[in-house]
């Protein structure tokens, strides 16, 4: 085995662990040392749980040495976005208002990962309450992109993406409400999977916009994404929105086959203002797909141009209701006050950052008396049109391929003064959440500065196997040469 164990994929580490070529403790220590070495540059972790991780790794080694077959992720060190409740581990959502919150329970996906034998290295940085596209909205400082420390890793799961790209963990958990797994995966040159809405339980995850939020993995390879998806997906009596459909063995769907795959290319997604290198890389990848036997054809998603406006009314409206619970009474930060009303107002004023306040204000406005029909209800009607665009498109194609983001990683501070410009960096990912569909981002090239470019593959509802199969086949074809990040 090489001495850089932290560079392993889940798939390779799993094989080496089962053959007892390496131990879970060795692998976990390698990641912890990597974290110590790279964190001063990246700030991807908000909490590093060294002793807990080593305890879990020791338990994993015992299971691996036992006579029973080891579970799927036995001894695999993961990073967890700081939006997931992990019993006894500080969970801040990158907000001052939850700075000292220690959950007394595990999120369902955390329970599942524990049962699968995973090791939790710690909690990862993000935009406060998952609101942002650059991780600059974290109350605890931004995370930096491992390909260029002057640039953002994307967001909101920016810590989750940077940590995987920099080999601080083998894979991580993220959440995606408007692109928060796929856009940072694209900007950090890794794989990010946003499953179909309702495929993965949200119990124990700090809620942002409940009709849009989904959980998914950020991984080094597509195969690792499939392995993680199998561990995460499935019905949960604690989340009434969670689908009872059986969970397929996603890994067995990875047969390397691209022949006869019908690829839809929406003309609306190749827009003016897109970085030419992004356009070129996506078009080159479409050529590779066709060379491997897929057929590509232009399709139309005519309401795409309304997706950002629709999203920022629906997501903020739902957020304003979800964030009403932060009142300084039962948990979290409480401001000094003379009476209860002042306590609420001051707690929320001091506890929330500017972007969270902006979204609470927009959402409260969109739901308020006299404006509900003109804004919130209208957005819900447009959501129907966006959803139907996709339904019609999937009558003629199996997957839809687009860029994940119109640009590669932008500079820290470049978009912080202009909320709308920041929102538009999610222009290609947002409509997928509105329609509730599965999609992933995978690397498809690099620009002239060496920054990664992401390809988005969208599937029909519960079409995770199809998008994973296509992405894995593309990855294994060797047509996209991967480059390691140069700044760490």
């Amino acid at each position: 085995m090489n001495d850089e164990l932290f560079r392993l994929t889940i798939n390779d580490a799993r094989a080496a662990l089962r053959k007892r070529e390496i131990s879970a403790v060795e692998l976990t220590r390698a990641c912890l040392e990597r974290i110590s070495a790279t964190e001063p540059k990246l700030n991807a972790f908000l909490t590093v749980a060294e002793s807990e991780a080593l305890t879990q790794a020791q338990a994993a080694d015992q299971r691996l040495a036992g006579t029973q077959p080891a579970p799927a992720l036995c001894g695999i060190p993961l990073g967890i976005k700081d939006i997931f409740c992990v019993r006894g581990m500080r969970t801040t959502c990158a907000s001052r208002i939850l700075e000292n919150f220690v959950p007394p329970f595990d999120a369902t996906v955390i329970v599942r990962l524990r049962e699968a034998g995973a090791v939790f290295l710690g909690k990862l940085n993000m935009d406060e309450f998952a609101m942002g596209s650059s991780t600059e909205n974290s109350a605890f400082g931004p995370t930096r992109n491992p390909y260029d420390l002057a640039r953002v890793p994307g967001g909101s799961s920016g810590g989750s993406a940077a940590a995987v790209a920099a080999d601080e963990c083998l894979a991580s958990l993220g959440t995606d409400t408007g692109g928060s797994i796929r856009q940072p995966a694209a900007l950090c040159g890794i794989v990010g999977v946003k499953p179909t809405y309702s495929r993965v339980s949200r119990y124990g995850i700090v809620a942002f916009a409940s009709s849009l939020d989904q959980v998914g993995p950020l991984t080094k390879t597509v195969r690792d994404g499939a392995i993680m998806m199998h561990a995460l997906a499935g019905v949960d009596p604690r989340d009434s929105t969670c689908s009872a459909r059986p969970v397929p063995d996603y890994e067995s769907a990875l047969n390397g086959e691209l022949r006869n795959l019908r690829v839809g290319v929406p003309k609306e997604f190749f827009v003016e203002g897109m970085q030419p290198a992004v356009d070129d890389a996506v078009r080159a990848t479409l050529k590779h797909l066709e060379a491997a036997g897929a057929t590509a054809r232009e399709i139309s998603l005519p309401h795409s141009q309304y997706a950002v406006a629709t999203y920022y009314l629906i997501a903020t409206a739902e957020a304003s209701a979800n964030l009403a619970r932060y009142d300084g009474i039962r948990y979290g930060f409480r401001a000094e006050a003379e009476d209860l009303n002042e306590l609420y107002h001051r707690t929320r004023a001091l506890g929330f950052g500017p972007e969270v306040k902006r979204r609470i204000m927009l959402g409260t406005f969109a739901l308020s008396s006299g404006y509900y029909d003109a804004y919130y209800l209208k957005a819900q009607r447009v959501r129907t049109l966006i959803r139907k665009d996709f339904e019609a498109a999937f009558n003629t194609c199996d997957v839809i391929v687009t860029p994940t983001s119109p640009t590669t990683a932008f500079r820290l501070g470049e978009k912080t003064q202009d909320p709308l410009q920041m929102y538009l960096s999610d222009i290609f990912t947002i409509s997928v959440n509105l329609a509730g569909l599965p999609a992933l981002s995978m690397p498809c090239g690099y620009d002239s500065d060496g920054l990664p470019i992401g390809l988005q593959i969208i599937g029909p509802a519960f079409g995770e196997e199809t998008i994973l199969r296509a992405a894995d086949a593309l990855e294994r074809s060797g047509s996209i040469a991967r480059r390691r990040p140069s700044a760490v």
Binding site: I329, D339, H345, Q421
Partner: protein
């Protein structure tokens, strides 16, 4: 797309009203900034008015879970101490709050 100073889509009084509904104390500077930001965003979302939406049903939720029912039974272990450990102020087994009734 450079953002010009948007025409005010919401008044300063409107901002104060929404802030009261959202239980957010804002200083004068934040009020002015939010008036500007919300106006820009509301101007942008006006593009939805281009669409003919009569007869289009709203989508509130996607997914196939429906509305499953379950028995109303307690499933979590009692953990009052762990829960109260997060309280900003407590007294015994209660959350402590400022006086609400005179």
């Amino acid at each position: 797309m450079p953002l010009r100073m948007a025409e005010a889509k919401i008044s300063l009084d409107g901002v104060r009203h929404v802030a009261r509904l959202a239980r957010l104390a804002l200083d004068a500077q934040e009020e002015a900034k939010l008036q500007h930001d919300l106006s820009s965003i509301l101007e942008y979302v006006e593009k939805l008015t281009e669409l003919e939406l009569s007869g289009v049903e709203p989508t509130a939720q996607v997914g196939d879970a429906g509305t499953p029912m379950r028995d109303d039974v307690v499933t979590n272990e009692p953990a009052a101490d762990a829960v109260l450990a997060n309280a900003p102020a407590r007294e015994g087994f209660w959350f402590k709050v400022p006086k609400i009734i005179e």
